[in-house]
């Protein structure tokens, strides 16, 4: 995989003390996005640099606009160029435009690489919130743009940005009766889309490793007759088998240190939870409920607990158990069935799929089962995954029986629901 070449990353400017005024705290459904002015980055008259500057501005604008926390002020009204903003913003004039944050940037050449300088200002306190100089190979300009958007996002929201991230998902095509499933990867905004498997065999339930270098997934193998867990290495582009063991191994997820998987194995009509050491491939059984389906396990953010779905009480419900043993304790008590629990990277919430009254919802609840709320509902929604900062949830989204299977995302507060940019149909994103 391509590596971003950081020749340098320096902090520009002196006024780095961050004022709290511009910080936003999104805890309720009603919330006003921060008006931000992003002056078009400049390339100093060089056509190539000017082109790069324009594209970088576009990506930053898209990132910030798409997350729902910012509203980009119409560039037609801007009263200073990026170059002037980099020198000295005229804060009083920007205030008239009701902009609260201001961004400017310049693109230079540094040998064969690009150097991108940018600054972020708080217009009301008239202070600089961020100033960075980033170096990169010309081909990696998109990542630089995402890094800048991440920096702006973090300075204003207090949360880590997630724009410089990638998403793995199952790309689907063909009719219901002749469906093709391919492993695919793309940037979170849909750019740099790549297929990682041929589609000759059915692949399901991919999960990214904590370092985002490996993908564990279920591959049905030759003629779709030999389902087995595979590990795809994003650095080498190679896929390897995780060993032939009796039973259907499925729903893998990585431990937080990436050293082992937690998974379920369906065998002789019983589906139980196991861990698998990725070095030795040794399995350890975690649950034994006679005749039950214990499936879709996921570790808590700190690795001390496991959440999973089990039908041991009759219908699939969510249970939480200690990693060191003990019985699972049921946490879901609402109407319907509960599937696909995923612990937030922040630890505060568990996302899940709820199946009820002929439809599906994506929802969240606290790890003790309290505070349950639905974020989106429709004909067939399933397979939630968290953004790395625990702020957004992405999922399989088929709103009506006749619509396509798409990917959608929503903020945990329930606003900013949007479709994710994929070339065809898709399911089961992992972020």
């Amino acid at each position: 995989m391509k590596k971003l070449l950081f020749t340098f990353l320096t902090v520009l400017g002196l006024t780095l003390n961050v004022q709290a005024d511009l910080r936003i705290n999104v805890t309720e459904g009603t919330f006003k996005p921060v008006p931000i002015a992003i002056t078009p980055f400049e390339g100093g008259g060089d056509p190539q640099l000017s082109q790069a500057a324009q594209e970088i501005t576009q990506v930053i604008t898209n990132d910030l606009q798409s997350c729902g926390l910012f509203k980009v002020v119409d560039p037609a009204a801007y009263i200073q160029s990026a170059k002037d903003v980099m020198n000295q913003p005229r804060f009083a004039d920007w205030k008239i435009l009701h902009a609260e944050a201001l961004v400017g940037g310049l693109v230079h050449r540094q040998g064969s690489n690009l150097q991108i300088d940018f600054r972020l200002f708080d217009i009301f306190t008239e202070t600089q919130l961020a100033g960075l100089s980033l170096g990169s190979e010309p081909a990696n300009w998109r990542r630089v743009a995402h890094k800048i958007a991440d920096e702006i996002y973090e300075k204003i929201t207090g949360d880590k940005g997630y724009f410089d991230t990638r998403i793995v998902y199952i790309a689907e095509s063909g009719s219901e009766m002749n469906r093709k499933y391919r492993l695919a990867i793309m940037d979170q905004d849909g750019a740099n889309h790549q297929f990682l498997s041929s589609g000759n065999s059915m692949v399901l339930t991919p999960r990214l490793s904590p370092c985002r270098t490996k993908i564990a997934y279920l591959d049905f193998g030759k003629n779709n007759k030999q389902p087995n867990l595979q590990l795809f290495d994003l650095q080498t582009g190679q896929s390897s088998s995780l060993g032939a063991i009796q039973g259907l191994k499925m729903t893998p997820r990585f431990s937080n240190d990436g050293s082992h998987l937690i998974l379920s194995i369906a065998d002789k009509g019983v589906t139980s939870l196991y861990t698998m050491d990725l070095g030795s491939k040794q399995l350890q059984r975690l649950t034994t409920s006679a005749g039950a389906i214990d499936v879709s396990p996921c570790y808590s953010h700190d690795g001390t607990k496991i959440v999973y779905s089990s039908d041991r009480g009759g219908k699939p419900q969510l249970y939480v158990k200690d990693v060191n043993g003990g019985e699972g304790e049921r946490i879901s008590f609402g109407q319907g069935w509960y599937h696909n629990p995923v612990w937030s990277p922040r630890g505060d919430l568990i996302a899940f799929t709820r199946q009820h009254a002929g439809g599906f919802s994506i929802g969240v609840m606290r790890p003790d089962g309290s505070g349950e709320r639905m974020l989106d509902s429709g004909y067939l929604l399933e397979g939630p995954t968290w953004s790395p900062n625990g702020r957004e949830i992405m999922y399989t989204y088929q709103p009506h029986s006749k619509s396509k299977s798409l990917l959608a995302s929503v903020d945990i507060v329930g606003f900013n629901k949007r479709n994710v940019n994929i070339p065809g149909e898709g399911s089961y994103p992992t972020w």
């Binding site: 219901e176 009766m177 469906r179 259907l248 499925m250 009509g269 389906i293 499936v295 599937h339 397979g383």
Partner: protein, 167 residues
């Protein structure tokens, strides 16, 4: 039960002069229904006794399940007993039982449910005297439907199924 099977096999043998069905009839005309339906299909597409097509059309290759259930229903037990009898006659075959679910569920849970359905069918064959080593089980969950599901109950039913495929 045994007599009925013999009768059906005999009927199939009489009509087998035109040779075996094409491979794809396995998927197109698989039946687990009433004997009268099987007989009607058999009359239209004759199959060689002991062939794949014979198994599908005259024995019944599939058993159906209720929504979210993996209990084999009485008519399913009949079908599996016919399958066991047939497999005792034609001992050269191993089989794979494919478990399927309708699309009203999640990918993950349905993989497990499909496995449980296929296993329940296997249990019946084993109880009827078939060596478990001859029977493999694979679950496709909801991801490889048997018929297109456009909302009617019949289509959902066709997909809540364990299908015995001759290897």
């Amino acid at each position: 039960m045994r007599l009925q099977i013999t009768g059906l096999l005999a009927a199939a043998s009489l009509l087998s002069a035109c040779g075996p069905c094409p491979e794809d009839c396995v998927n197109v005309s698989g039946q687990g229904g009433l004997p009268s339906e099987i007989a009607a299909v058999a009359a239209e597409s004759p199959c060689v006794a002991g062939s794949q097509a014979d198994f599908v059309e005259n024995v019944g290759d599939r058993v159906f399940f209720d929504f979210d259930r993996s209990t084999v229903r009485p008519e399913g037990i009949d079908t599996l007993q016919r399958q066991a009898a047939w497999l005792k006659t034609y001992t050269n075959y191993a089989v794979t039982i494919n478990g399927h679910c309708d699309k009203r569920g999640t990918v993950e849970y349905n993989l497990a449910l499909g496995e449980r359905r296929a296993q329940k069918a296997k249990d019946q064959l084993v109880a009827a005297g078939i060596d478990p080593a001859r029977i493999k089980v694979v679950s496709y969950g909801k991801n490889r439907p048997i018929v297109e599901q456009n909302g009617d109950e019949w289509a959902y039913q066709q997909n809540r199924v364990a299908i015995t495929v001759l290897d």
